[in-house]
Symmetry: C2
Subunit: 397 residues, 2 copies
């Protein structure tokens, strides 16, 4: 029996492949500060649990393939707050943003067709592309200008007759970058001129700091039939384990085709959607508080790491990630070493090597992604461990 | 923007595509007895709800990609009852049997590679194959011999260098057929001789009547590294809306590769898995009672429909479906007519046209699938509506 090439060629998740090592480190009595994965430490709102604990039907039968209606209504109201208007049949509920991305790639691309991505990009885009036999074509962005987009010509030079879409996250994972209105308008122009879809992963929409203007791709009227919005409650409401995501698009034909795949997999879990509906219906105060908390963490981690001779980075304006350029040769080696060989008072830090966020691996070789998803006290300890660890590591290697 | 051919070519779910019509019929005040979909009316056990209502964590973070450990342990114990032995890393929890099937097809087949299926087969196999660019090659079985397998040569004649696996459900959906030990042994021989995987969809394992011997593909030792078992709590525990399925295989390399895809989509919902673990840990009595109930329904529907001049079928020995051969030209037309134009005391019946369960559509043109998932009183009324409806329909067309 031969296993498929598409899966054999698929890389292990750079975020998860060190989980085995981490388990052993924990067993040896070392506390790990996990900054390697975007799994927030913010409490899931009680509204979620209350809704679930109040929910009981005699028979937990199949739900609707498009999603739990109350959740779709709640999301319609949620989008209205951003002046985004989606009809009922322009929304589909999915098993997390993950399923949403897979469904869209399958529906937009045939075998070996291409999507434009901006590296470093959310690493799992690679995996979704592998499974769907789609080829990500990466345009490299640089830490030097905060990972903003290159000139239009550099982007269009990579477009071929096989290109079907541009895929990006905004606010950016792993960069924290917020694209300006000009950047979104430029992508809109490219989509129009080259007949492409825009797949806009906006799961970090709430996390925009410094009073920056946030421009959703869905707000650009002239490409409204080309835009597909990926969303999720995971980060927004600190409910990663509920696996509730969504697809929104004004392109009804596209949505109708995606619905066929949804019907084929029948439905997503009802109970988690009941919880998610309660979250979207809940008070805005939670989101405001969470944003303030992440902003504080961002300021703290910036103040702690800024100026360290072995680390360079630009303060990002969104999401809860940052990419650090380290003055070493091999960030993956450093991350493993930090996890297994270094600790302060029996505590160490786990980071994500950034190579997995690139197609051109060499550009990420000296970088790590840090998710500031722990409280300020822990982040402060983590910063010290990273700085001291780097100093020690550089003496050794 | 062009939508992918693979999704454009994907047929609408034959089980769900009439949902829109059904909604309108209901709005007009007609009660529909839904025998078109395997969505049981049996109460979901309280153990499920209790576990969920007792579960609360401060943060609903990501779960493990392979599944909730307590559920994996519970499934190991469950399989032991059938003398099937799976290590922890030989089990993966999925979003229903649906995701399980997609994951396995992606991992076993590359673009345009083939799987052998026996038609009529579970219609959604078509959709999973479309999305993964896999080609189902159907070998037709006949209602005349209860949809048992044809001779070995007929099966092997369809095997090409591109064939990677044989996929079937046993007990069968939509046929209710239980394969004999000889049939499973024959498939094992074919898998060995032609280097194929066996993808054995055993979600109806509990529903075997007439004291028939049930032979799981996983019990055949000489192909243990070739067998992949698809499972689900949906029918077993009447919890279709929980979306908890699983993959089990002694082929550790295969499981390792599937785990990579699971890591890429992060995890399945924790809460539903907590409920599922409670179900697998619960008393066997529920399963025994449910089986007895379905057996009673099977006997009733058999007695009611057997002998009708317009219906022919063989009494099936498993699952909760049967395929009826109708003495008409176009079963889909009849199903629509029955739903929209016929009722007795403002009540009608919805069936699934069988064409969607075939690759060679012409063989299913006069057939419907009936799911006996309503109680005996309703089934009795449904049988009368079907018989009277058929009589009337034949006068009209």
């Amino acid at each position: 029996m031969r296993i498929s090439e598409r899966i054999l060629n698929m890389p292990e998740s750079p975020v998860r492949k060190m989980d085995g090592i981490a388990s052993k480190v924990k067993e040896s009595g070392i506390n790990i500060l996990h900054l390697n994965i975007g799994d927030p430490d913010i409490k899931t709102p009680d509204a979620f649990w209350q809704a679930i604990h109040n929910y009981k039907e005699p028979i937990l039968g199949y739900g609707k393939s498009e999603g739990y209606p109350e959740l779709i209504y709640a999301m319609q109201r949620y989008y209205k707050k951003f002046n985004l208007d989606f009809d009922y049949d322009e929304l589909l509920i999915t098993s997390g943003g993950s399923e949403a991305l897979s469904l869209v790639l399958s529906t937009v691309c045939d075998y070996q067709e291409e999507i434009i991505v901006f590296e470093p990009f959310y690493t799992n885009y690679n995996g979704f592309a592998d499974v769907t036999d789609v080829v990500p074509i990466a345009i490299t962005t640089s830490s030097k200008n905060g990972f903003h987009l290159p000139a239009k010509e550099e982007i269009t030079s990579k477009i071929t007759p096989k290109t079907k879409a541009i895929l990006f996250s905004n606010p950016g994972n792993p960069t924290g970058t917020i694209y300006t209105k000009e950047e979104i308008e430029m992508l809109a122009d490219i989509a129009l001129e080259h007949d492409l879809f825009i797949i806009s992963d906006e799961v970090y929409r709430e996390f925009v700091y410094d009073n920056l203007e946030y421009v959703s791709s869905a707000s650009i009227d002239r490409i409204k039939d080309r835009v597909v919005i990926i969303d999720s409650i995971s980060k927004r409401y600190s409910a990663c384990g509920a696996r509730v995501g969504s697809i929104a698009s004004k392109n009804k034909e596209l949505m109708k085709q995606i619905l066929k795949i949804c019907q084929n997999r029948l439905c997503t879990p009802t109970i988690d959607q009941v919880g998610a509906a309660a979250l979207y219906n809940a008070d805005q105060a939670f989101l405001d508080d969470v944003k303030e908390e992440y902003d504080n963490r961002r300021n703290l981690i910036y103040d702690e790491l800024n100026g360290d001779p072995n680390i360079s980075f630009i303060k990002p304006a969104g999401a809860f990630y940052l990419i650090l350029d380290l003055d070493i040769e091999d960030a993956e080696h450093f991350v493993t070493w930090l996890l297994t060989e270094f600790n302060i008072d029996n505590e160490t830090v786990m980071l994500a090597p950034a190579q997995g966020f690139y197609t051109h691996k060499e550009y990420g070789k000296k970088q790590v992604r840090l998710a500031y998803i722990l409280d300020c006290n822990k982040l402060k300890r983590a910063a010290i461990i990273i700085k001291e660890g780097l100093k020690k590591y550089k003496e050794l290697y």
